[in-house]
């Protein structure tokens, strides 16, 4: 399954010139794509469109066989819950939940994801993912987010994005708070787990160097009208 965007135009208000224009973009299954763009370049808009919180004025976004811009608001929210996992820049996690609760929170809004992990059990699956991401210490699983390092927090965020094996993982500058060494290790882990889960990865960042690790790199500039 893949994501196909065609003839897309988006502007903040109707009758204004579009700020984002994508004639054709196709992301195949298991593909890892790097989209480069500095902040303020329309990155957030692109993520909003892919996540279904924004709808384009023209064109279509066909993801996993569904034209998501034709869905109603709550159907798009449901689509996001069922098919996408998000990782943000930093402070991805809810401070009042512990590590395992943060990871399994993704399943609360998606019965589909929940059904996928039901064979193992929610908590087991969360712990398995955390373990695979190097957070093996069981005492860590019950800890509050604030007691974790930034690197650990980002790995928890990855676990939350991957639980329930969504078709798409969208990452928005997840490594900007990490130093170069940790960043490489983080990316390797992310790639490895995305492969295991069978998720394609859309990675948005201003950092050219990160792009070197990807199969495919595009610049957001080409989507500027």
């Amino acid at each position: 399954m893949s994501i196909e965007i065609s003839g897309l135009e988006y502007s903040w208000h109707e009758h204004e010139d579009p700020i984002l224009k994508i004639d054709e973009l196709k992301i195949g299954p298991n593909e890892k794509i790097f989209i480069r763009g500095p902040s303020g370049s329309g990155k957030t808009t692109l993520l909003g469109l892919l996540g279904g919180v924004l709808t384009p004025q023209k064109g279509s976004i066909n993801a996993e066989g569904t034209v998501i811009n034709q869905l109603g608001g709550s159907e798009r929210d449901r689509f996001r819950a069922d098919h996408i996992g998000f990782i943000f820049q930093m402070f991805n996690l809810l401070p009042y939940l512990n590590v395992v609760e943060n990871v399994s929170l993704a399943l609360r809004f998606s019965p589909r994801k929940k059904a996928k992990v039901s064979t193992h059990g929610v908590e087991q699956e969360a712990k398995r993912l955390l373990g695979a991401l190097g957070l093996t210490d069981p005492s860590l699983h019950r800890k509050l987010i604030s007691s974790l390092s930034v690197g650990q927090q980002q790995r928890v965020a990855v676990a939350r994005a991957l639980i329930g094996s969504p078709e798409v993982v969208i990452a928005d500058e997840p490594t900007s708070a990490l130093d170069a060494d940790t960043r490489k290790a983080f990316l390797d882990l992310l790639f490895q787990e995305c492969d295991k889960a069978g998720s394609k990865l859309i990675y948005v960042s201003h950092d050219k160097e990160v792009g070197e690790h990807f199969d495919r790199c595009i610049s957001i500039d080409q989507f500027k009208p």
């Binding site: 919180v53 608001g73 996001r80 943000f88």
Partner: protein, 422 residues
């Protein structure tokens, strides 16, 4: 997903324990105040209406019903006129009448009213839920110069059985005209009743006549014309009049008929009232203060609920990041609305529950104290229908007020989308 909203809202509130519990407490206190005012209102009303029971009619010379009730039952104020002894006898012996208690007022002892009456008072006067008077010590008067004391009188003035006391003419606190020559002996002290009986002294009608036997038209005897206590004993002490009478009927069916007959008495201008009706009339005038109390309590509730809404609103900005994260996990804007609304639901519900617990605990601890110092018995009983309506209205008010921060979060989440604001 309402369950997810509830789950997150509870966890989030737990994380903000201090501010959440303060908000909860402010709602709980306002609910407790509201219910407390309700309890005091009911208690006051009940103890007021329970001052006298089982009495079907109160008779006095023609005046106002409220005035008659005030002096005959509460011993407040004075009668302008009395009932003649003949009328008293006539209505006492009426075939419909089961018993009659004479009440003669006019004297006092250290600020407490002296009531002239007879043995019918001790056997037929009822208060509260048809409680009869009973004695803490001694028994009713058996001699002309015996007096029975109400509980408070005995307590405040430290009288015991056998003590001799001098009654005063008139009802002013400082009376210069004492019936010094005819002291009374305490023959009995009544149990506490929580009614004006506690603040009264009771002597026989004959004793009252005896005190005034040598008085001429309301003036003390001239020197040389005094009669000693022993001389008075041999005189005819039938009183010439009584101030009021309390009447119990054989059948409740005859009340209105007898009331009309008394009010139409051609021989003497009399007034018969139904105590319950006049109580309600009197309470209606006092009820303004009581209603004002409830209004004030409700304003406190409104203040508590507004405080809750404002504390939720202030957290909203700090929670934009949290809301964007939840949205990215697939939460609908409606889920965000519910997330914020459920906070008001929990605080409102918890506040009501805690308020109920608070007021019952407070009542349980303060009940004896309030009864001793204010003479007000506040019954501890299950919540009434009105209480439930009040609690429900507090709950609904907090949910309703919670709509505003929830709506703001809803709009905010639409604008913010997945954008994480710091």
């Amino acid at each position: 997903m309402i369950s997810s909203s509830f789950y997150l809202s509870l966890r989030s509130m737990r994380n903000r324990m201090l501010s959440s519990s303060l908000t909860l407490l402010s709602i709980a206190l306002s609910v407790a105040l509201l219910l407390g005012v309700q309890r005091v209102r009911e208690g006051a009303r009940e103890s007021f209406e329970n001052t006298i029971s089982d009495t079907d009619l109160i008779l006095g010379a023609r005046s106002g019903p409220v005035q008659l009730l005030l002096f005959s039952v509460f011993h407040i104020g004075n009668a302008t006129q009395n009932i003649s002894w003949e009328s008293y006898q006539k209505w006492k012996n009426h075939p419909e009448v089961k018993w009659a208690i004479p009440i003669s007022l006019g004297d006092s002892h250290k600020g407490y009213r002296v009531v002239g009456t007879d043995e019918n008072f001790f056997s037929n006067y009822k208060f509260g839920r048809k409680n009869q008077l009973s004695y803490a010590h001694g028994s009713q008067f058996s001699d002309l110069f015996h007096v029975v004391l109400g509980a408070e009188v005995a307590d405040e003035l430290s009288y015991r059985l056998g003590d001799k006391l001098v009654l005063s003419h008139g009802i002013s606190d400082v009376s210069f005209q004492d019936h010094e020559d005819k002291p009374f002996t305490v023959s009995g002290i009544l149990q506490k009743t929580g009614t004006p009986v506690d603040r009264s002294l009771f002597i026989s009608l004959e004793g009252l006549s005896a005190m005034h036997a040598d008085w001429e038209s309301g003036a003390p005897p001239l020197p040389g014309q005094e009669l000693s206590a022993e001389q008075v004993r041999n005189m005819d002490l039938t009183p010439s009049d009584v101030t009021a009478m309390l009447v119990g009927l054989k059948s409740k069916m005859g009340i209105f008929k007898l009331q009309r007959a008394i009010n139409d008495d051609k021989e003497e201008a009399l007034l018969a009232i139904l105590p319950g009706v006049t109580f309600r009339e009197l309470w209606a005038t006092l009820g303004v203060a009581e209603a004002a109390l409830l209004v004030v309590a409700f304003f406190v509730v409104i203040a508590g609920v507004l405080g809750m809404a404002s504390s939720i609103l202030t957290t909203l900005n700090e929670r934009r990041r949290e809301i964007a994260i939840i949205r990215s996990l697939g939460a609908k804007p409606a889920d965000i609305f519910m997330l914020l609304l459920s906070e008001s639901v929990f605080l409102g519900f918890g506040g009501c529950l805690l308020g109920i617990i608070l007021i019952y605990t407070a009542l349980w601890f303060s009940q004896p104290f309030v009864e001793t110092y204010f003479g007000l018995f506040i019954p501890i009983k299950a919540l009434g229908l009105l209480d439930l309506y009040l609690i429900l209205s507090v709950f609904l008010l907090s949910v309703f007020t919670g709509i505003f921060p929830a709506l703001k979060a809803y709009r905010q989440s639409l604008v913010d989308g997945l954008t994480i604001k710091l």
